[in-house]
């Protein structure tokens, strides 16, 4: 398992994370990231890491859980 982090203060609502991992990330009415889950299985890790790396302000993290 890997743990997800998201910093809504850094988030600018650019939305890149949702193009590859809309099962994990969502956006609220204020344009801030919402985590739909706190952990992901290892099988999803590469894809979700790519989604986290697509954040222009590095608001997202994937860490060993």
């Amino acid at each position: 398992m890997a743990k997800l982090t998201a910093d809504p203060d850094l988030c600018q609502g650019y939305g890149n994370c949702l193009t590859t991992a809309s099962d994990v990330y969502d956006i609220d009415d204020d344009g801030k990231v919402v985590l739909l889950t706190d952990t992901i299985p290892e099988a999803d890790r590469a894809r979700v890491e790519a989604a986290a790396r697509s954040c222009p302000v590095r608001a997202l993290g994937v860490v060993d859980g």
């Binding site: 600018q12 650019y14 939305g15 949702l18 809309s22 956006i27 609220d28 790396r53 697509s54 222009p56």
Partner: protein, 411 residues
């Protein structure tokens, strides 16, 4: 795959290609070559948070030495590529050394068009970290700022200079500069952002000359007006950085010409990524070159896949996406609004701050593009529908669920 991948260009496209190659299982050496001496850094904040002084250098880092070591990426920084020996599969560097490759990734980006005017000093462009440092220091001085060019970079610099309490005038030969991208109607609404924030605009007027030096510059406009300025910023576009490929035999025409898999035409061992690549977009049916951060990131992922999976390459057909933060307006654009056949405006452009969007109908009756101001949730939903090729009316009815609670109707 175990061969050596040489990546020329250490900005976001090159760095993300290197990282994605490891994520895709590439085991061979990766050499990342960059002309600048710094560790790789991110450019979008240079016209915003970095320029404003809110972020410092460490917030710009794209790849640390530890990141590079952990991924087995060899860094060759501070040395520009000067030539390519295609037959010998080697890149020639400015210090006389050579780097051999089995696969080459061209990610040299674009360089700012220089100021064509003869002023001694005080005229800035904004592309590199040095440019950003120089302009940041200049904005800490006093005196009026004249920004030449009302595109994204010019508009963001104008907003940042305005926030730094410098009197700002922004000049552009077009009546609504952003109309180049958004079309006339929406271009006028969005270009009005400057006037609404008290920044002087001289749109529809060109610049004839800039003379003087830092702190005492004179900008002469095509209508004869002379603007005095302490600092001048020139944001008049960028050119793909392909000079080092002259004579290499690669097809160069407004960038490195690539096929739909981002391979240089006729040379399947060479790929293009980011601002420098002009590739065949299979959905648009033409070659395109895109100078946006998100494109470099997405194209890097596609190229890394195609290098590591040569038997099952994926065509690169992204939905274009770019954002721009100006004053308290967050402007987001998905798709190609300049090619649309019609549009609907939703939301309220006159509220303060405004919250509105334009939804564009494509030539084939599809939802082809969206522009939002201060409405990220709507942009995310529209971007997904555009990528799916959703018919326009159907897309509008899906988006109406987001629009109605806020504004009372889509059209």
């Amino acid at each position: 795959m175990t061969g050596t991948v040489a990546i020329v260009g250490a900005s976001v496209g090159g760095v993300r290609t290197a990282q994605a190659l490891r994520a895709e299982g590439h085991r061979g050496p990766i050499v990342l070559i960059g002309a600048e001496p710094h560790l790789p850094y991110d450019k979008p904040p240079l016209s915003k948070q970095f320029l404003a002084g809110a972020w410092d250098h460490d917030r710009l880092a794209l790849l640390t030495e530890a990141d590079a070591a952990a991924d087995g990426i060899e860094l060759r920084l501070g040395v520009a590529a000067t030539g390519l020996d295609r037959a010998g599969r080697t890149v020639e560097l400015a210090d006389g050394t050579r780097v051999g490759y089995d696969t080459l990734v061209v990610a040299t980006g674009a360089t700012a068009r220089p100021s064509p005017w003869p002023a001694e000093s005080g005229v800035h462009v904004l592309r590199s970290l040095e440019d950003g440092e120089g302009l940041r220091a200049a904005l800490a001085e006093t005196g009026p700022v004249v920004v030449v060019g009302g595109g994204f970079i010019g508009a963001e610099v104008a907003a940042t200079a305005h926030a730094a309490a410098r009197p700002v005038t922004i000049v552009d030969p077009l009546p609504a500069p952003i109309a180049r991208v958004l079309g006339d109607e929406v271009g006028r609404l969005v270009s009005d952002v400057h006037r609404r924030h008290g920044v002087t605009t001289r749109f529809g007027t060109g610049v004839r000359d800039v003379v003087g030096h830092a702190g005492a510059l004179e900008v002469t406009l095509t209508d004869g007006t002379v603007l005095r300025a302490g600092t001048v910023v020139v944001g008049i576009g960028a050119e793909p950085a392909v000079d080092w490929l002259a004579g290499s035999g690669l097809e160069l025409d407004n960038g490195l010409v690539c096929d739909e898999y981002c391979r240089a035409v006729g040379h399947p061992e060479i790929f293009g990524v980011g601002d420098v690549a002009r590739w065949f977009h299979p959905h648009h049916g033409e070659h395109v070159r895109v100078e946006h951060w998100t494109n470099a990131v997405e194209q890097a992922a596609c190229v890394a896949h195609n290098i590591t999976h040569p038997e099952t390459p994926v065509a690169y057909r992204p939905t274009e996406y770019v954002w721009s933060d100006q004053y308290d307006w967050k402007i987001q654009i998905a798709g190609r609004p300049s090619r649309a056949a019609g549009l609907d405006l939703v939301g309220d452009p006159s509220s303060d701050p405004p919250r509105f969007a334009a939804l564009y109908r494509g030539e084939h009756g599809e939802l082809s593009a969206a522009v939002t101001v201060n409405w990220p949730k709507l942009l995310v939903a529209a971007r997904r529908l555009i990528t799916a090729g959703t018919p326009y009316e159907e897309g509008l009815s899906v988006l109406d669920k987001l629009i109605t609670p806020a504004t009372g109707g889509a059209s």
